[in-house]
Subunit: 388 residues, 2 copies
DNA sequence: GTTATTTAGTTCGGTAACAGAACGAATTAA
DNA sequence: TTAATTCGTTCTGTTACCGAACTAAATAAC
C-alpha cells in the first residue's frame, strides 16, 4: 500500500501497475483498508479513454504523530497527521532542571499543542524525540548529552511512554535533521547525504546508501573531534574536540580576539565583516577553510553526493560562499554544498519522517526490502503554520 | 536454506527449529535440493533421546568461484568451492600492458589454476575481481586506477565475462579486504568495521550496519585525501593527497631524509629503528601519530567498532604498538585497532565472500532482509594451500 | 525384556497471498 | 452506432507455507 501513501488520489488499476500486483489483489487490499478506516474514496478519474476509475486516498487524520526537537536551550514540538500536515507547533525554553522535568515538559507541550487544534489524545499514535547525544536503545538513556542534565541517569524512553501512553522513539537530533533534508529538503532523492550543524558546537548527520549512519556506539557524526583545526594531542582537544574548538563560535570569537584584542559575539563579528573589517573577514575566511576541510574529511570517508549546512553559523551565506571557494582548493573532486532551506525545522521534519515511516510500516505491514523509510513524496506534503 | 549453508552436517528438524519453518516445509525443500544435486546425506545423529535424524550438508564441489585480487604490481587468483575451500591459487606480476592484456591474463590464470586441480571449466560459476579504484557498474569500466593502464577505457566486466563464459563481479580491492576481515578475519561478527591498507599508498574500506560503504561515486575510503598531514591547499596535495604524502612510504622516506640527509627505503628505516636509531624512531613515531589521527577521523564520521590495519606498512608491529599509544592521546574514546592476520589474502577472501553470497542467493532464491552477505561461518571454512 | 518418553519424519488437509483468464461496465474515438 | 480502451469483478488456479495427526526410531525407566 505504499502506492497509496506515495501519491495523492490514486486508482486501484494505477496501484496495480505501479506495484506489479494483480488488479484483484489490489481490489481486495483496498477494500480491507477502507473497512478499517485508513483509506477513503475521493472521486473518479475523467478525461481519458476507457472506463473511469474510482480514486482513493489515505485518511489523513486517522492518526497523528508528535514530533519533538529537544535542544539544550529550546524544545520544539509539532503534531502532524499521516500526510505530514502540521496541525500544531510550539517552541519553549528547555526546562533547566533536566531529567524528569524535561520529560514532563515534552509531554505537556505536545498535549497542549494537540488541544489547540481539538485533536484528541487517543488519535496520537507515536512520538519521535530528537535529542542531542546518543540515545541508547537498550536502556532508554540518552548518553553524551552534557547540555541537558539527568538524561543519562534515567530511562527517558520509558518515562516518555508512560507520560504519553503510546510508543516513543528516540534519535539523535542531527541524524533527524539529515533525514528531514533527505525527505523534504535539498537532500531529496539522495542516498548518500551529509548534514553539518555548525553553531555553538558542531555535529554531523550522515546517510549512506539511503540508511542513517549511527555507528557502533551511536557516536557517528561527532565532528568536533576531527583531528585538525587545533592540536588533537592537547588535553583541551580531548575534552571538547580539536575541530570544534577552532570552527565553532568559541573558536571564531577567539581568533577575532587574538587579532584585535576585542571580545565580540559571533553576530557582531559577521556585522563587522559585512562592513569590510579586515580582521573579521580573515576570521570568516579561516572558519570557512576549516569547514571546507571538515567537509573534505567526511567526503574522504563516506563520499556523500551532497553536504547540507545548518546551525546558526552554518546557515550564514557568508560561510557558504567562502566554503564554495575554498573546498575546490583542498579537495580533488566536486562536492555539492548547500545551506539548508528547512533551517531550524529540519529535525522536526526528520522526526515526522521517522514517525510516519514507522507508523506506515506497522499499520500496513509493509515489508520494505531494506531499512529505508518509506514516506509520502514531498509534493503531497504541506507544512502549515498555526498561530500559537 | 541458509541453515544448511550456515552449518556443517545438519538435520531437517534442526533446520526447522533454526528457521521457524515447519518440518514438512523443510523436508520438501531439502528433497528438492538433493534431487538437484546441491545437498547430500552425510549420516545420522546419535547419542540422544528420540529418533535419530538424517543429516545433510552442502555438496562442496557443486560449483566453484574464481576470486581475483588485481593490484598494480601483482595479480592473485584463487579457485574456491562452495565452502570456500581453496583448491588452487596463483600469483603473478600484473601484465604491464594493461587493458585487454590484463583481462586475458586474469582469465588464463584462473583456468590454469583450475586445471592443476582437474576442475572442469563448466564447474566454475562466477568470478569476483577486486581491483584498485572505482568499478563503474553501468559501464563496466574501472575508474581512478592510475596504476594499471587501460581499465578506464574498456568495459572490463564485459571483456572478463566474454573470456570466462560466466558472470563476473567487480569491486574495489580494499572494500574486498574489509569484507574478508569481516568474514574470516578479526572483524567477524562486527557490523561497523574499518580497514586501512597502508603501504605505497593508503586506502580504506568501511562497513556500516553490516553493509559496505561505497559512496555516491564509489569514492568512499580514499583516505589519502584526508585534509591533514600536509597542507591540503597545496597543489601537490590536490594531486596525490595531503595525508598520503605524509603517512605512506614516500612520506616516511622523505621525513627520514630530511632528518638525516640519507635516502633509504622503508624496510631499511624500520631496521634502523629496531637498532635504536633516534631519527628512524622519530619517523616511526610521526607515522603512527598521523595514522592515529587518520583512524580518529574515520571514527568521528562513522564510529567503527574496530579498525584493522593491512598493507606492507600497516602490518608492521612497530606501527601498531605506536598507534595504540598515540590514539588515546588524540581521541576521546577507545577504538579497537588490530593488525590483520589475513594479511595479503584479505581481498581474495573478501572476493570469495561476495562470490559465495551471490551464488548462494541465486541458487537458493534466498531473500535476505537486507543486503548483508550470508556466508558459511568461519569454523566450517578451511583455507588449504595447494602446491603450485 | 517391556513400557514410557522423546525426537524425527511423513501424510493429509488447509490457509494466505497472490495470479491468469474471462467477461461485464463505462468511457472516448471514429 | 460500433470499435477501442481501460476499470473492476468473478472464477479458478498456483505456490509456499502450516496444524494436526500419526508412524518411526532412539534412550530412559522400571
Amino acid at each position: 500500500m505504499e502506492a497509496i501513501v506515495q501519491g495523492g488520489p490514486v486508482s486501484r488499476a494505477s496501484i496495480s501497475k505501479q506495484t506489479g500486483l494483480s488488479k484483484q489483489t489490489i481490489s481486495e487490499i483496498v477494500r480491507q483498508l477502507e473497512i478499517d478506516g485508513w483509506v477513503r474514496e475521493t472521486g473518479r478519474t475523467s478525461g481519458h479513454i476507457g472506463r473511469t476509475a474510482v480514486t482513493y486516498e489515505l485518511v489523513p487524520d486517522a492518526a497523528y504523530i508528535a514530533a519533538v526537537d529537544l535542544g539544550g536551550t529550546k524544545v520544539r514540538v509539532a503534531i502532524v497527521d499521516l500526510t505530514c500536515q502540521v496541525f500544531a507547533e510550539d517552541v519553549a525554553p528547555t526546562d533547566p532542571r533536566g531529567g524528569p522535568a524535561v520529560v514532563d515538559q515534552i509531554v505537556s507541550m505536545c498535549f497542549a499543542a494537540a488541544k489547540t487544534q481539538n485533536i484528541a489524545r487517543d488519535r496520537i499514535r507515536l512520538a519521535v524525540i530528537g535529542a542531542p547525544g546518543a540515545p541508547d536503545d537498550r536502556t532508554g538513556r540518552i548518553l553524551l548529552a552534557p547540555n541537558i542534565a539527568g538524561l543519562d541517569t534515567m530511562n527517558v524512553a520509558a518515562a516518555l511512554e508512560k507520560g504519553f501512553g503510546f510508543d516513543v522513539m528516540l534519535e539523535n537530533d542531527v541524524n533527524l535533521a539529515v533525514l528531514g533534508e533527505n525527505w523534504l529538503g535539498q537532500g531529496q532523492g539522495i542516498d548518500n547525504l551529509a548534514y553539518i550543524a555548525l553553531g555553538t558546537g558542531i555535529g554531523g548527520g550522515l546517510m549512506v546508501g539511503g540508511n542513517l549512519v549511527r555507528g557502533a556506539s551511536h557516536a557517528a557524526g561527532e565532528l568536533g573531534f576531527l583531528p585538525f583545526g587545533s592540536d588533537p594531542f592537547e588535553p583541551e582537544s580531548l575534552r571538547s574536540g580539536a575541530f570544534e574548538r577552532a570552527v565553532a563560535s568559541g573558536g571564531i570569537i577567539e581568533r577575532f580576539r587574538a587579532a584585535t584584542g576585542k571580545t565580540l559575539g559571533v553576530p557582531a563579528i559577521f556585522d563587522l565583516a559585512s562592513e569590510g573589517d579586515a580582521s573579521a573577514l580573515t576570521v570568516l575566511d579561516d572558519t570557512a577553510r576549516l569547514l571546507a576541510r571538515g567537509i573534505g574529511a567526511i567526503a574522504v570517508v563516506a563520499n556523500p553526493q551532497k553536504v547540507i549546512l545548518g546551525g546558526s553559523i552554518g546557515l550564514r551565506p557568508e560561510i557558504l560562499e567562502r566554503v564554495k571557494t575554498f573546498l575546490p582548493q583542498c579537495f580533488p573532486y566536486a562536492i555539492d554544498v548547500e545551506a539548508s532551506q528547512l533551517g531550524a525545522r529540519a529535525a522536526i521534519i526528520g522526526a515526522a519522517a521517522i514517525g510516519l515511516g514507522h507508523l506506515h510500516n506497522t499499520l500496513f505491514g509493509a515489508d520494505t526490502p531494506d531499512s529505508r523509510i518509506s514516506l509520502p513524496p514531498a509534493n503531497t506534503v504541506t507544512l502549515r503554520e498555526v498561530a500559537r
